[in-house]
Amino acid sequence: MRLALLCLLFWLLSGAQAAVVTQTLRPGIVASASYLVGDRDKPAVLLLHGFLQTREFPTVATLAGGLHDSGYTVLSPTLSLNIPMRAQSLACEAIHKHNLGEDVDEIARWVLWLKKQGHSTIVLAGHSFGSLQLLAYLSGRPDAAVKGYIGASLIGTQIGNTLDRRMLIAQLEEQVRSTPRALVSQPLSFCRKYTSTPSDLLSYVRWDQARTLAALKQIRLQTRLIMGDADGMAGHNWIKALQHVQARMVLVKGANHFMDGEHEFDLLEHTLEFLEHIGGASAS
């Protein structure tokens, strides 16, 4: 009952102040984002959705609303995945004509967009695969305005249990050479049949748990991982691995991968706590 009332409140408030912003990423590809303007003194949060989802995914939308309510500016883009004004979750079986590089590029474009809006302190927050895509962005040449990273339910690229990743990568690399335009289908993340070109698929497949941990280890930003100890998709080994690399991590008891239900408050609480910390640090 309490949760229902809260959702209703968030919807009313967010609906009243949200703005959809777009920018043309490539010829014919226009991407959109929800831009919630908050306190200029506080860091702006770039909040990214999970694998093939949109900014309307409940965990993300709820978190965006909560952050904005707390006075933070929140930009929630929907990755285009090379679809103009994509507004729907992209099916696993759809033709995935996009790759991790393009995703990272889109993140960079939205970071720049935020900077253009006058936000000098930017915190990147992602959920699930979005956390991985943000991590990929951070592993490259992140913008200096980016001051912090929140990875909720961070997860590496999963390829199923049927094939060894190295063999898969080798096959894909071979296909990239031999039949680069051919579509291949491969279990990826929660998709059992993910259809894409070899090169695009390869861009995601390379980010296994090891590379993810390495990237996480290499980040020089303030980092906060918020993980659920009931996250069935990540598994206990993944949590232990994260603990092994001594990542700053908050483990929410009983929360699953989507941090839904009452754990949305835990997610918001830990996010706000991290943002307050970032805000205080940037101010000092």
């Binding site: 679809i83 507004a87 992209l90 099916a91 759809a94 033709i95 335009r181 579509l183």
Partner: protein, 757 residues
């Protein structure tokens, strides 16, 4: 009243059965007609349902296609293809189906750029136009139906925008639907026979979906319930008809066996009864299935037996009655009825077997006098004796018929005139020898026999035999004859017969025509001065200028019983003569009357009227003593009455009758007229003359006034005068003369003329 036409019971049964079948046929026909109406209504409803079903199906198809178009237009992957069409065919052939945008193999989708060019050629099997044939207005989809090689394809084109706000046109989408296949596969038709669905669209021609209703032809699927209903109704009606027809046939057979046959048998039996051919034994053993009919049959049988017994009894009685009816009760011989029947039959037989035939007619002489004198009982006995004698005289096979009164007849077959005469003579001989004395009749009783003969070659005249025999009979009765006469034997008799016939005609004409009877007056002289005291009026008949004398017509009067009519005619004529005044005054008139007429009231009345002349002419009535007076007291009374009006009563022809003394004693007689047969005896000197003389004196002494008739000689006149008889009458002193001559002789003028003189 017209008798209604009768029909047989079988016809009634047939009519009933036919009527029943006609009624059943009519009801069946009506039910079939109603069933047909219901079927037609159901067919119409079925057709309307089919039409509604087809319209609804096509509308659903259109709506579904429109919804698919809208979904496709909003689908991210559609927009992706319009931007990055590298894998368009994969999207077209797989993704639209995997993604749930299209869900039928008969439905295809294609994408066109903003210029309307197809992104990639489509397979031949599901070809899409390379360029959109119609300009699709942004924001407005466009659809049409085309006939492509006999297949009806429904196209729905729609615009695809970059976002929900439709700010940028990315291109166009086109959905291709195999119209008929989609309808068949997606729709579950209950009322339409899809094989009959056709679209009036020529190959290569297109049309708007709005015109679909007018171009779509279809047939409703046969409603199994309706067909079942109709089949059940037809079977039911047929079964009902067969059942009723069978029942009617069985009923007719049963009806025919139980009722018609027995009734027909009864009818045949009754008809046989009517025709007298009924055999009770033939139906005795045949039982009937219906109690009432069996009762009727048994009753009929018993009735028939009783009827037969009764019929036998009636036949016996009838035979007896017939015999009695043909037999004369008095004499035992055949009667007139038998005569007529036998004579007719005999004439018929003669046509086939010609032979000589003699007809004999017998008549008893003076039988009436005998009857009147001796009474009917004696008369009957006389007839019986005559009949017995005649039967004995006839041949064995000859039949004697009593025609009436004392008249008998017989007809003799295979005979000749001589044989007939011989038989007639035998008859007379036997009658003469008959013992009439045994019954107290001493007078001779004879018969007159008239014979008519017809030879085998003259049978065409056989019908004349009775009449000829009658004429011969008349001839035989003439005085001086030997009482047997054969018709046509000689000319004399024929002439007499002719005269007789003429006199008969004259008599009847005279009775009907006043004036034909002419009175002649013969004087009656008083003695001794021979002065004429009376004239006796004597009747004659003037016929064709000839004068017919009483001897000729009196027998006719007697035989025809015309006494009263004749006497009345005489009285009329005498009255006329008296009225004329041509008779000498103070001379009496004596009038002859038969005794029978005296008792007739009209005669007496006429006499009373005639008495008005008594002052000028004393009147006297002469009653013939030979005539029979049966009603003695009544006649005596009338005579007494007439005496009071000054009529004198005379007994005429005294001495020729049967009982003169009785008349003299019982009747008020004033005058006795001695017959000529007595007066003529006075001419001789013998015992008869003495008896007559003594009798005349005795009568005179008794106070009777006497008249001598037939005085023709002076001798007789002298003798009459000697005996003291007061009046005489005869040719000696005067013959009868007609009135004209009398008036001329006496110088009498008619009364009127005398008065004038």
């Amino acid at each position: 009243m017209k008798r209604p036409v009768s029909i047989s019971i079988k016809q009634i049964a047939l009519a009933l059965v036919t009527g029943l079948l006609v009624m059943v046929s009519f009801i069946g026909g009506f039910a079939a007609w109603q069933t047909r109406n219901v079927s037609r209504t159901l067919e119409r409803s079925n057709l309307e349902a089919a039409q509604s079903e087809l319209v609804a199906a096509t509308e659903r198809l259109f709506r579904r296609t429109a919804a698919q178009a809208s979904q496709l237009a909003r689908w991210d992957e559609t927009r992706q293809q319009l931007v990055l069409p590298e894998y368009y065919t994969y999207w077209r052939d797989q993704r639209v189906y995997e993604g749930g945008m299209l869900n039928s193999r008969h439905t295809r989708a294609g994408l066109y750029d903003t210029l309307g060019q197809l992104l990639a050629p489509s397979p031949a099997r599901h070809s899409l136009p390379d360029k959109l044939p119609y300009s699709v207005t942004p924001f407005e989809p466009r659809s049409w139906i085309a006939n492509e090689d006999g297949s009806f394809i429904y196209y729905h084109a729609f615009p695809v925008y970059s976002d929900e706000a439709q700010r940028g046109l990315l291109g166009y989408g086109l959905i291709r639907v195999d119209f008929m296949a989609e309808l068949l596969e997606r729709e579950n038709f209950h009322f339409i026979d899809m094989a009959s669905v056709a679209l009036a669209l020529k190959p290569g021609e297109t049309m708007s979906p709005a015109d679909l209703g007018s171009r779509l032809a279809f047939e409703a699927r046969a409603n199994p319930s309706q067909a079942s209903f109709q089949r059940i109704m037809s079977n039911t009606l047929l079964a009902l008809f067969v059942l009723l027809a069978g029942t009617a046939l069985i009923a007719f057979i049963v009806y025919n066996r139980v009722l018609v046959r027995p009734l027909k048998q009864l009818s045949r039996d009754i008809e046989a009864m009517q025709q007298g051919r009924f055999n009770p034994a033939s139906t005795r053993g045949q039982g009937m299935h219906v109690t009432e009919l069996d009762t009727i049959r048994r009753s009929l049988h018993e009735y028939q037996l009783q009827l037969r017994e009764l019929h036998g009894s009636l036949e016996n009685q009838n035979r007896e009655f017939r015999s009695q009816a043909r037999q004369d009760a008095l004499t035992g011989c055949y009667n007139r009825r038998a005569y007529e029947e036998d004579w007719e039959r005999f004439r018929e037989e003669l046509k086939h077997a010609p032979q000589g035939v003699a007809f004999l007619l017998f008549d008893c002489d003076r039988f009436k006098t005998i009857n009147d004198t001796y009474g009917h009982a004696k008369g009957d006995r006389v007839l019986t004796i005559i009949a017995d004698a005649l039967v004995m005289a006839l041949r064995a096979n000859d039949r004697l018929y009593r025609l009436g009164g004392d008249e008998f007849a017989t007809f003799l077959a295979r005979t000749t005139p001589a044989q007939a005469k011989q038989i007639a003579q035998r008859c007379q001989s036997l009658i003469e020898a008959a013992a009439f004395g045994d019954i107290g009749i001493n007078e001779p009783v004879g018969i007159s026999i008239g014979i008519a003969f017809c030879g085998p070659s003259q049978l065409e005249h056989i019908a004349e035999l009775p009449k000829q025999a009658d004429i011969a009979m008349y001839t035989a009765k003439q005085p001086g004859r030997n009482r047997i006469a054969l018709y046509g034997e000689d000319t004399e008799r024929a002439a007499q017969t002719l005269v007789a016939s003429r006199e008969t005609s004259a008599l009847f004409q005279a009775l009907a025509t006043p004036g034909m009877i002419e009175m002649h007056y013969q004087p009656i002289h008083g003695l001794p001065d021979r002065k004429v005291d009376y004239y006796e009026a004597l009747a004659r008949i003037r016929y064709n200028g000839d004068l017919i004398m009483p001897g000729a017509f009196l027998p006719v009067i007697a035989s025809r019983r015309l006494e009263t009519e004749f006497d009345l005619a005489v009285l009329n004529q005498v009255d006329a003569d008296l009225e004329s005044g041509r008779l000498p005054a103070s001379v009496g008139i004596s009038i002859n009357l038969s005794a029978q007429t005296i008792s007739r009231a009209e005669v007496v009345s006429h006499l009373l009227e005639l008495s008005r002349h008594s002052a000028r002419h004393p009147l006297m009535l002469e009653i013939t003593e030979t005539s029979l007076i049966t009603q003695m007291a009544e006649v005596s009374t009338y005579l007494e009455l007439l005496r009071t009006v000054h009529f004198r009563i005379a007994m005429d022809d005294f001495g020729t009758g049967y009982s003169p003394l009785r008349y003299l004693v019982d009747l008020p007689v004033d005058v006795v007229k001695f017959d000529i047969s007595l007066i003529s005896k006075l001419a001789h000197d013998n015992r008869a003359a003495r008896v007559v003389a003594d009798f005349a004196r005795m009568m005179s002494d008794a106070g009777y006034s006497l008249v001598a008739e037939g005085v023709e000689t002076e001798t007789v006149l002298a003798r009459v005068q000697e005996l003291g008889i007061e009046h005489v009458q005869g040719y000696l002193l005067g013959r009868p003369v007609p009135l004209e001559k009398l008036a001329a002789d006496t110088g009498e003028l008619p009364v009127q003329a005398a008065h004038r003189a």
